[in-house]
């Protein structure tokens, strides 16, 4: 019995992961509050946990959950209307009623929940929330992840994530953030906010900023899934496809970028046979989709184009560095930042020789925002090695090692420092 109970609970977990985003999104459109929508969806889950172990998982579990939540949602709308009527002292007509809500819910049961999901994602990534809160809320509401799963992924206590989510939902309610897809001038910034959240999740998995592991692939998969979902919800946003392309191509290198003892292997030294060619193909397809949409190329499309240059080169020597240097110039013009300049210096160094790279880099040495960024001395060390200036290079690698927070990367940098000789 105990075994069966566990099995059915796992099945319910799986159903929840598949259905909860649609459920919460459909409910949020009715009750206009994602906190309440999530509570209602959760009540339906509790009902499922009570009933399914007895009678088994229903044939259409999503419809079952939605029907269950619907009754509760109608109760909720009725109670709120009563309250509003009392407060309004019959002063004006209230435009929605519970019957209209029921019709809406039936519509929400249909497949066309795309707009609701998009509204949910825009709302979860609203700039009124801190980045941490956006990430937690997005993984919870769109990724169907539990608080505990999110906490484990980010190596923080569960209570931290729980509080973050509670506060985020309260902020959205307090600030009366509308449950809608933004139009007009606001839209581009709001799309950027969603992309930023997804890419942040991906990067946390791809280059863990904390802990002893170099990568946490689970988070990369979560981010990829969110990106792929968003690409279907907003198929006309070219930068969404750009982000998906960038993540697919970067993820294709996962296997190759970790060495035998878990140490990082840099791009040009990776065994390209270990790249995941399915993901490369998917990435190139996503990039083609972005390019087909035309218009000015957004920052993710440009970055994906750079990643694609590497993906297309069969060997490191075949890399089209002049093209990459041109793309970095385009990126620097589109989203100027010291970090982009840093990468551009690397590309220039490869395309036009180490001295060209060093010249660009030295313009950045005084940049305040890069003072604690370990890639700067690491790149500088690399260029100095190529110029045969080993003493200076060693100091740079040592400095980089003292700045990184990743244990694996630190080892690698100290190794490079030693290789420069004493």
């Amino acid at each position: 019995m105990a075994v069966e109970a566990t099995e059915i609970h796992r099945a319910i977990d799986a159903v929840w992961r598949i259905e909860s985003p649609k459920l919460i999104a459909g409910l949020a459109r009715i009750v206009r509050d994602i906190g309440i929508a999530e509570d209602l969806a959760h009540d339906a889950l509790v009902a499922a946990l009570e009933q399914w172990p007895k009678g088994g998982v229903p044939d259409k579990p999503g419809a079952w959950l939605m029907a269950t939540a619907k009754h509760r949602a109608i109760d909720h709308v009725r109670r709120r209307q009563m309250l509003e009527r009392k407060q309004a002292e019959l002063g004006y007509e209230i435009e929605t009623d519970a019957r209209a809500a029921a019709v809406d819910l039936d519509a929400a049961l249909d497949e066309e929940v795309g707009d609701d999901l998009l509204r949910l994602m825009f709302t979860a990534c609203h700039p009124v929330l801190s980045t941490d809160a956006r990430v937690a809320l997005t993984l919870r509401l769109l990724g169907g992840m539990t608080t505990d799963e999110i906490a484990r992924a980010f190596l923080v206590p569960e209570s931290t994530i729980a509080q973050r989510i509670v506060r985020a939902k309260r902020t959205l309610a307090d600030k009366q953030v509308p449950f809608e897809v933004p139009r007009g001038a606001d839209r581009a910034a709001r799309v950027s906010s969603m992309l930023e959240v997804i890419y942040l999740v991906f990067n946390e998995g791809y280059t863990a900023t904390a802990g002893d592991d170099w990568m946490r692939p689970g988070l990369c998969e979560d981010a990829l899934r969110l990106g792929r979902i968003l690409a279907e919800l907003a198929p006309l946003e070219s930068d969404v496809h750009g982000l998906v392309a960038l993540m697919e191509i970067q993820a294709s290198r996962s296997r190759a970028r970790v060495g035998l003892s878990g140490e990082p292997v840099v791009l040009l030294e990776q065994n390209r046979a270990q790249w995941d060619h399915l993901l490369i193909r998917r990435g190139l397809a996503a990039l083609a989709r972005a390019e087909k949409l035309g218009g000015p190329r957004g920052p993710y499309v440009i970055q994906a184009s750079i990643a694609a240059c590497h993906a297309r080169a069969r060997t490191a020597e075949e890399t089209d560095w002049p093209q990459i240097a041109r793309l970095y110039a385009e990126l620097a013009a589109s989203v100027p930042s010291p970090v982009v300049e840093l990468n551009r210096a690397v590309a220039d160094g490869m395309a036009y020789g180490p001295q060209a790279g060093l010249d660009r880099l030295d313009a950045l040495v005084a940049e305040p925002s890069l003072q604690t960024y370990h890639h700067l001395p690491s790149v500088r060390g690399d260029l100095l090695v190529k110029l045969g200036r080993f003493d200076e290079a060693r100091l740079e690698f040592e400095r980089a090692a003292s700045l990184t927070r990743n244990a694996r990367e630190r080892d690698l940098l100290l190794e490079r420092a030693r290789a420069c000789g004493a």
């Binding site: 099945a11 497949e111 990829l224 279907e232």
Partner: protein, 138 residues
């Protein structure tokens, strides 16, 4: 984690017959759902085994046997690659598919992590060689 979902051949698929329009429409809808959920990585259908071949390896010799092959239940007609969080999620997705009167198999795909610190058999072998060399020098 990734799962391969393996669809078995039947008399019709072996005869080279394409599924009827209704099945194609339903399958299209199901595929669409998988794409929208970010689950679908790849989906491929295979030609009848009459267009394939088998290569047998035995005692250093190879023998080629051309299709078709008779035991149609053991033959693969197509496959999906899905990215999901658990086997149960793959099962729940499969339950939503429009299949009838058949059996579909779900198999987990090996990931780098499954190999522990040595990520691929090739690297593991390499490491073993290195260890042996170090041991020999002692």
């Amino acid at each position: 984690m990734r799962f391969m979902v393996i669809v078995k051949a039947n008399k019709d698929s072996e005869a080279g017959a394409l599924p009827d329009r209704k099945i194609l429409t339903e399958m299209g809808k199901f595929n669409d759902e998988l794409v929208k959920a970010g689950v679908m990585l790849a989906a491929e259908g295979l030609h009848a085994s009459s267009k394939g071949a088998r290569v047998k390896f035995s005692g250093g010799k190879t023998t080629v046997i051309d299709g078709p092959f008779t035991e149609s239940k053991e033959l693969v007609a197509g496959f999906w690659l899905w990215q999901v969080k658990s086997k149960e999620e793959a099962i729940e997705w499969l339950k939503r598919s429009p299949f009838d009167n058949t059996e579909v198999e779900i198999r987990q795909v090996f990931e780098a992590d499954d190999f522990g610190p040595a990520f691929t058999p090739e690297l593991r072998a390499q490491e073993e060689r290195l260890r042996a060399e170090v041991a020999a020098r002692k």
